[in-house]
């Protein structure tokens, strides 16, 4: 007997994924004052954790149901199709990036920056670069999240199969893989050197954990989440992370961090999803779930509607955000990089993301209604938004 998956879509997931997409957009514009509002400046984890966790949750929710209703093969095939869609989106973004970098390379000349011109080197050997990009080994700056997501989706069918039968075994295996990746320093290779910026073998933990919460863990954790002790620990940990983060921006107070603590704590490894980051995300999640119930009336308010809309079409909006970050940086350096302009570019970017999400939602609704005699599979709209 397979466990039942709750039928209602949890709007909180869309809300926070939408917010995470906005934060990722803001963080991707270099030298943007507005990015001071994003959570990475106030603790260990950042929007990437939120995005990966919620993606794991929704993917397990949507495709788990497909697997139960239509069988393992169909569910697995849909997952792979989704991975393919993300791959195509990534290559599309890569093309935009190439166009931008080729333009800058052709117009840029300054004796001060002969070293930095090295970033254009790969344009001289497109034969190698393009193949490496298609293999997901060559990933330009800020284009590391989608490749991670592709690998996570493509590897998910067997995990989901197991999770529907033995959820906790699946989670335990994920922890084992995470530990092995840490212990043996396992990661996927990158081009021209080094390894992946987001190690899929480590980050899968958050993704699988998200899936586990969707399939079975959500109910099991309820008692823990509502416990008074857990709340105190979570708040204390967030306060600690906040204090440590402040020492990064105000070096003089860094002297107050005891030496044993910094030796134990640093480096806080983003590549391999440091335990401190994972714990920070957990603390945030626990407080969020505790203080924002899923029937919170605010979720239906007009104010939060834009973020929820973005979260419901996350693949499209994520890609748009990466593109807008390029374009926004371009506008800042070409026109003006004053604070006013930074605020304008940030606000405009988010407005465009919201508008695009609204158009996509409208289009899907229209399509859903007018699609001929054959009814669409029940999870089609969810699947569209489910990644």
């Amino acid at each position: 007997m397979l466990p039942a998956v709750s039928a209602e879509r949890d709007l909180r997931l869309d809300l926070f994924r939408g917010l995470a997409l906005w934060l990722i957009f803001l963080d991707h514009i270099p030298s943007n004052m507005v990015s001071w509002v994003t959570i990475r400046n106030y603790g260990f984890s950042d929007a990437t954790e939120i995005f990966v966790f919620i993606s794991g949750y929704t993917v397990a929710f949507v495709y788990g149901r497909a697997m139960r209703e239509r069988g393992v093969i169909v569910g697995g095939a849909r997952l792979l199709k989704r991975a393919w869609q993300v791959y195509v989106a990534h290559i599309f973004l890569f093309t935009i990036y190439m166009a931008e970098i080729a333009y800058v390379a052709a117009s840029f000349d300054n004796p001060l920056y002969r070293e930095e011109m090295g970033v254009f080197e790969f344009l001289k050997q497109p034969d190698v670069t393009l193949v490496q990009a298609l293999l997901l080994k060559f990933k330009p700056a800020n284009m590391d999240v989608l490749p991670l997501y592709i690998v996570l989706l493509a590897g998910f069918p067997p995990i989901l199969w197991l999770m529907l039968r033995q959820p906790t075994t699946a989670l335990a295996l994920s922890v084992v893989l995470y530990s092995l990746a840490w212990h043996y320093g396992l990661n996927l290779p990158a081009y021209p050197s080094g390894t992946w910026v987001f190690n899929p073998l480590a980050w899968q933990l958050l993704f699988v954990f998200g899936g586990w919460c969707a399939i079975s863990g959500g109910d099991r954790l309820r008692g823990l989440i509502n416990s008074w002790l857990v709340m105190v620990v979570a708040i204390a940990y967030l306060a600690f992370a906040f204090a440590i983060t402040m020492t990064w921006y105000f070096p003089p107070i860094a002297h107050h961090v005891p030496r044993w603590l910094s030796e134990w704590m640093y480096p806080i490894d983003k590549v391999n999803l440091d335990v401190l980051r994972f714990a920070h995300f957990l603390a945030l999640a626990v407080l969020t779930v505790r203080f924002i119930p899923d029937d919170w009336p605010g979720l239906k308010s007009r104010l939060l509607r834009p973020a929820i809309l973005c979260g419901q079409h996350s693949l499209e909006i994520f890609c748009l955000g990466v593109f807008l970050a390029f374009a926004g940086h371009f506008a800042l350096i070409e026109l003006s990089d004053g604070v006013g302009m930074q605020v304008l570019v940030s606000a405009l970017g988010i407005a465009i993301m919201v508008a695009a999400a609204a158009v996509i939602a409208w289009y899907k609704k229209v399509e859903g209604r007018s699609s001929g005699p054959r009814p669409r599979p029940p999870d089609a709209t969810l699947a569209g938004g489910g990644a």
Partner: protein, 250 residues
């Protein structure tokens, strides 16, 4: 604002020998003091200054290569140090090579120590590693090993991070490499010359237009002059901190 900064400069000039002589020109390179604070002491440099003979070696990449079309910052650093330390024989030698990563620089350190016997090494790095996407953990380990090698040989280190380049900012992911350098500097208590923040400040304040596409070297020349000057100030401050313990710049 300017006036109060000037007043403050006069007040602290007792600590900074002969700072007043260059104060007029220094205005050009002006940055908030916290950007160029030494934070940590340079005891070997202090001893060398006391012995009236200070040798500095610069390791790094293209932006540290001397003998280009303009006077680059190692040359300017030598001028600056000589002006700040009258009576001390100062020499700055650049062993920087284009395209050098932290790993390749680390490998040549023992040879450099044996050949040059410097009191202090300015280790400029990060750009090439970021462009090539060198494994971040490897980068951190190479930096740490290098600093340990230098400290074992009783040589001071000043780390210098990347240039700020508005045009390529969205293309080279400098952030995590700059962060790794900051962390290693704190861990080993060595001064970090935050070139990135300094240049960014200049760009934001309009001191220099770092965005312009040009073949001319005049801006590059002045940027390097200012970097040499500020770096010299930071090294002298670090040496003073070692010479007068308790008066650290915090």
């Amino acid at each position: 604002m300017r006036r109060s900064v000037g007043l403050l400069a006069v007040l602290v000039s007792g600590l900074l020998t002969s700072a007043i002589a260059v104060a007029g020109e220094q205005k050009l390179c002006d940055v908030p003091e916290h950007l160029v604070d030494a934070e940590y002491a340079a005891p070997q440099a202090a001893a060398a200054i006391a012995a009236k003979r200070l040798k500095i070696v610069v390791l790094g990449t293209f932006s540290s290569v001397t003998g280009g079309p303009f006077k680059s910052y190692p040359t300017r650093l030598e001028e600056e140090m000589a002006a700040r330390l009258p009576g001390v024989e100062v020499s700055v030698k650049s062993l920087a090579k284009p395209g050098e990563t932290a790993a390749t620089a680390e490998k040549m350190l023992e040879q450099v120590i044996a050949d040059e016997r410097p009191a202090l090494v300015v280790w400029q790095t990060g750009t090439v590693d970021a462009i090539r996407g060198v494994d971040l953990e490897d980068f951190r380990i190479d930096l740490s090993n290098g600093i340990e090698t230098l400290h074992d040989a009783k040589v001071d280190v000043v780390l210098m991070n990347m240039q700020y380049s508005p045009r390529t900012e969205s293309m080279i992911a400098l952030g995590s490499y700059a962060e790794a350098m900051r962390l290693v500097a704190v861990q080993y208590e060595v001064p970090l010359f935050d070139r990135f923040s300094v240049m960014k400040h200049w760009n934001e304040n309009g001191t220099f237009d770092l965005y312009a596409a040009t073949k001319k070297t005049d801006v590059a020349d002045r940027v390097h002059q200012c970097i040499g000057r500020l770096l010299g100030g930071q090294i002298v401050e670090a040496a003073n901190m070692a010479a007068k313990p308790g008066k650290d710049g915090n």
